[in-house]
């Protein structure tokens, strides 16, 4: 195989078909950027999950004086000291529960509330006696929430059992939904990219049928005849892959550091780092290189017979 000969053929082929090459590059770049974005989003979700699941509690809210009037479960009045002690003892007996069991007093609850919502107009109307006492429990296995809920939900003095994880799960579901949408879009772009590649290769093979015809007759191997077309597609795909890498890096910068600067605004979230993005790039490049090559090979099987 003479490299120089093949390279010059590739250059000629790509230039002859500039608009088509451009379309291939753009569609490959977009589909790969979406692919990389979906991967990164998944990583973000899972890193957030480990971070947050570690911090969230199952809260057992206890009845206060006000609840006695409007919450049926608390009809018997505010929680008594004995009930509290009993709940605490039962919690500490459960295997699924991590020790120690924390107790949040009304004052602490009020303080936390003011910290979180102090600026909002509603916060001014809240008084400490509207807050509830609660037990804050961490579970060894966050999936075991049901065990705690069934054990305590109906009990005297318990107003409600709340799994904070379910609040987070809504967020994660949203993010997963976005992920699915990205993958769906990627699939669509991928189909477009593949069809464009097949078409480009077909046009390229047609416009060079004189050359390939002669090559066949003088006994060039199928590999030698197909190589320029495959390299052409792979080269265009590689450019698309490089663009996709640029898009991913730019997106991370824009969303997290500069531009939207989510890192500053949402400092509670542990965002994925540059290394997470960088480790995805080789995969994106490899797919950008190989996928069009395979598509071209597939297209040629039909249009370049031996």
């Amino acid at each position: 195989m003479r490299a120089q000969f093949v390279l010059s053929e590739i250059g000629v082929g790509l230039r002859r078909n500039l608009t088509m090459t451009f379309a291939v590059v753009v569609s490959v770049a977009l589909s790969l950027a979406l692919f990389g974005g979906a991967l990164l989003m998944r990583e973000q979700v899972s890193s957030m999950k480990t971070y947050w699941y570690d911090k969230v509690n199952v809260s057992i809210f206890l009845c206060n004086k006000n609840d006695a009037k409007d919450v049926p479960k608390c009809a018997k009045g505010a929680v008594t000291a004995e009930q509290k002690a009993e709940i605490k003892a039962d919690l500490e007996k459960m295997d699924a529960v991590e020790k120690p069991v924390l107790f949040e007093t009304v004052d602490e609850a009020y303080k936390h509330y003011q910290e979180q919502f102090g600026d909002s107009p509603m916060a001014g109307n809240i008084t400490p006696d509207q807050m509830q006492e609660s037990y804050r429990v961490k579970l060894k296995d966050p999936q075991k929430y049901k065990v705690v809920a069934t054990a305590f939900a109906g009990r005297d003095g318990v107003q409600s059992v709340q799994d904070q994880r379910s609040i987070l799960d809504n967020l994660f579901e949203l993010m997963n939904g976005m992920n699915v949408a990205a993958i769906f879009l990627m699939g669509l772009m991928l189909v477009i990219a593949l069809m464009l590649i097949v078409n480009t290769v077909r046009v390229s093979a047609f416009s060079r049928r004189r050359e390939t015809g002669i090559m066949r007759l003088v006994g060039a191997s199928g590999f030698y005849i197909q190589m320029p077309f495959i390299m052409e597609a792979a080269f265009a795909g590689l450019i698309g892959g490089v663009l996709a890498c640029g898009l991913l890096l730019a997106a991370r910068y824009f969303l997290i550091d500069g531009g939207l600067a989510l890192q500053e605004k949402l400092n509670l979230i542990d965002f994925i780092g540059w290394d997470a993005v960088l480790t995805k790039l080789p995969l994106v490049l490899a797919i950008g290189l190989l996928m069009p090559a395979v598509a071209a090979l597939f297209a040629l099987r039909k249009y370049l017979k031996v």
Binding site: F5, R210, I214, L217, G219, S221, G222
Partner: protein, 229 residues
């Protein structure tokens, strides 16, 4: 060199066979004219030798190989022993004369040194010495056909297949081309030439094979074009 044993070829979706029950032998070093009206099966005959088509029935042997048993990936190797020339030259218009000839060697991976030596040699042989850097468009029809012959012969094939090589040329130029093919034949290369040119066949007095509606109707050593064609 070439042997057809009861070869028939029917193309898909066609009821009439293009070639019926043809049997013949062509020895190494022979010069053979293939004559017959359009649609008589000449092209099919040549396509079978090049293994662009496979026989529907019977056996085709080329260079001692049964083409029916030759696997696809071995076909290029087999074709390197064959040279092909067409009525319409089929040169690459954006390459010079020398590049056109070199192309046939480049695409089968011949080393550059060998190409640099072989191309001027074969161009001298076909009488185009000094025209290496001309473009095909600048040449006359006869000269273009000489380039095509040089390209077909540069890899020193055992067999040269020429499909009406003089079909687009005036009689005088045709004579020059025939002299060239004769010279190539004298180097030991077998030549099979399909033609409609009565004068040439009559003058050369070589073996003539005539096809009519796919059948072999005449196979004559030192023959003429025909009786009333």
């Amino acid at each position: 060199m070439i042997r057809f044993d009861n070869v028939s070829k029917t193309y898909p979706r066609q009821s009439r066979p293009a070639l019926r029950d043809v049997s013949l032998d062509i020895e190494k070093g022979e010069f053979v004219f293939l004559v017959g009206s359009s649609g008589s099966g000449k092209s099919t005959f040549m396509r079978l030798i090049l293994r662009e088509e496979r026989a529907s029935q019977g056996m085709v042997h080329v260079l001692g190989k049964d083409l029916a048993r030759l696997s696809n990936w071995k076909v290029p190797q087999m074709r390197r022993q064959l040279g092909t020339v067409f009525q319409d030259f089929r040169l690459l218009p954006n390459k010079t004369v020398a590049q056109n000839v070199a192309f046939a060697q480049e695409v089968i991976g011949k080393p550059r040194g060998e190409i640099r030596k072989a191309v001027p040699q074969v161009l001298d042989l076909v009488g185009l010495g000094g025209k290496e850097d001309r473009m095909p468009g600048e040449l006359s029809g006869g000269e273009q056909q000489r380039v095509a012959i040089a390209r077909a012969f540069v890899n020193r094939p055992m067999l040269l297949i020429a499909d009406e090589p003089t079909g687009n040329l005036d009689p005088q130029t045709s004579v020059g081309i025939m002299k060239l093919l004769d010279r190539i034949n004298r180097t030991g290369t077998t030549v099979i030439m399909a033609t409609h040119d009565q004068n040439i066949v009559d003058q050369m007095r070589k073996r003539v094979i005539e096809l009519e509606q796919g059948r072999l109707v005449r196979d004559q050593a030192r023959g003429v074009y025909g009786y009333q064609h």
